[in-house]
């Protein structure tokens, strides 16, 4: 179908965009890559009166390291993040997450900030950012806020951003020294939205896990941190049994929504397997892995 009628604005600066959002925020929408919003318009599931197209705002795009942290402009295309050597070398969890996001044609337009703002619980980047303890920087005429990923997602397609706010950047701390990482997911077809998945960051001293972050994909109405699994891991020895036990803990509290592609029960089982594999894979990638995890590789995606 065709999109409904709207007023189109294409500001050239963040300042202009914030002016427009201050006036039209309530009945308007920011247009970034359009890869989620335009389908909603074409289906007439969204009827904004104003579209504020931020694609001409150069200052919103770019990837840079800033005092050990990574700063990603909200308008940075997913394909640009995917190809960044800086990110692959230092934030490889993000690169691995992107390998599961849609298709090249979508990533060429789709933006990093758009994926976060859209807040689909089956989207990979929000889960990777949540597991990475990232902050989202949002701006309005009223000022700038830094919202941590744990406080950002409210429910399906809903965040704590106000209608007059524009996301300007994502700020990601460096993973712990020598950390192991893994993003795993299962989808019916490569590039489709996942039925379930996990993002894991681990650090260890010897065999003992010193920190663990476990993010769950498509497990709840928001991206989720599996606190139970993290508790089970930290302070314990990394082992096959430990990975299995932590994966069990990860799905204890979840009740994923079932649909024609998989019942709630099926998804729960699937997510448990994805978590276990992600922990194994991440442990196998720890600096100086003497744990033998890399031999069985964790397998699967």
């Amino acid at each position: 179908m065709k999109p409904p009628v709207f007023d189109y604005h294409d500001p050239a600066t963040v300042e202009e965009a914030l002016d427009l959002l201050a006036v039209h925020g309530d009945d308007g929408k920011v247009l970034a890559g359009g890869q989620s919003l335009v389908p909603l318009l074409n289906f007439r599931l969204a009827h904004p009166e104003h579209l504020i197209d931020v694609n001409n705002i150069g200052e919103l795009s770019g990837i840079k390291r800033d005092g050990g942290r990574l700063r990603i402009g909200a308008l940075t295309r997913q394909s640009m993040l995917e190809r960044s050597a800086l990110v692959a070398d230092n934030w490889p969890l993000l690169t691995e997450a992107l390998s599961f996001v849609a298709h090249a044609q979508i990533r060429n337009r789709g933006t990093v900030g758009g994926s976060v703002a859209h807040a689909d619980p089956a989207a990979e980047l929000p889960v990777a950012f949540l597991a990475s303890d990232a902050d989202f920087i949002v701006k309005s005429k009223r000022g700038e806020r830094r919202i941590s990923a744990v406080d950002f997602f409210v429910t399906h397609l809903t965040t704590t951003m106000e209608p007059d706010e524009l996301m300007v950047a994502i700020d990601v701390p460096a993973p712990p020294e020598g950390a192991g990482y893994a993003f795993t997911e299962f989808a019916r077809r490569h590039g489709d939205f996942a039925l379930g998945g996990a993002a894991v960051l681990l650090a260890a001293e010897g065999r003992t896990c010193t920190s663990a972050a476990v993010g769950l994909l498509a497990a709840a109405p928001t991206p989720l941190r599996a606190a139970g699994a993290e508790e089970a891991l930290v302070g314990s020895e990394l082992s096959q049994d430990g990975a299995e036990a932590a994966a069990k803990r990860a799905v204890e509290q979840i009740d994923p929504t079932g649909d024609i592609h998989g019942s709630s029960e099926y998804r729960k089982g699937l997510i448990e397997v994805m978590v276990r594999r992600a922990i194994e894979k991440a442990a196998g990638r720890l600096d100086g892995d003497g744990l033998g995890f890399s031999r069985n590789g964790g397998g699967g995606r």
Binding site: P4, V5, Y8, V38, G191
Partner: protein, 170 residues
Amino acid sequence: MSERRRVEIDINGETYGAEVEPRLLLSDFIRHEAGLTGTHVGCEHGVCGACTVQVDGDPVRSCLMFAVQAQGREVRTVEGMTDGLSEGELHPLQQAFHEKHGLQCGFCTPGFLMSLEPLMLDERDLTDQEIREALAGNLCRCTGYQNIVESVKLARERLRSGAESPAERE
């Protein structure tokens, strides 16, 4: 309300101008304003890939962009693939689709060609799996994909074994 805008859009090196509503999709501009009907429209929500064109060299869904957003950009459609070739001659990827039966009804083909053309310039060796992932963003109801994979391999073989490359010809 929704004021019309004057756009001048470069498609395959030619400029097409029109007064358009901001909600006009790029796919519809290409088909109805520029009259280039090689770009097909299937789902209009980004899933099927039939409408794939290249904008500034990158394959994108033309059904998920507005025509006003293509102002000042270089759009390339399937019609542009034979630019500079002699009458009846095909782009090496098109030729390979023809020889390997990479198409049956042909509805999906322009989208596949636009998506896969960048692989012709990819210097790496690609496994079948990588080729399949590259075409996962395009749906085909006829071929079962196997012959599309074969077409890509044939075209890449020819181009890499030093036959004329599309880049050199331009």
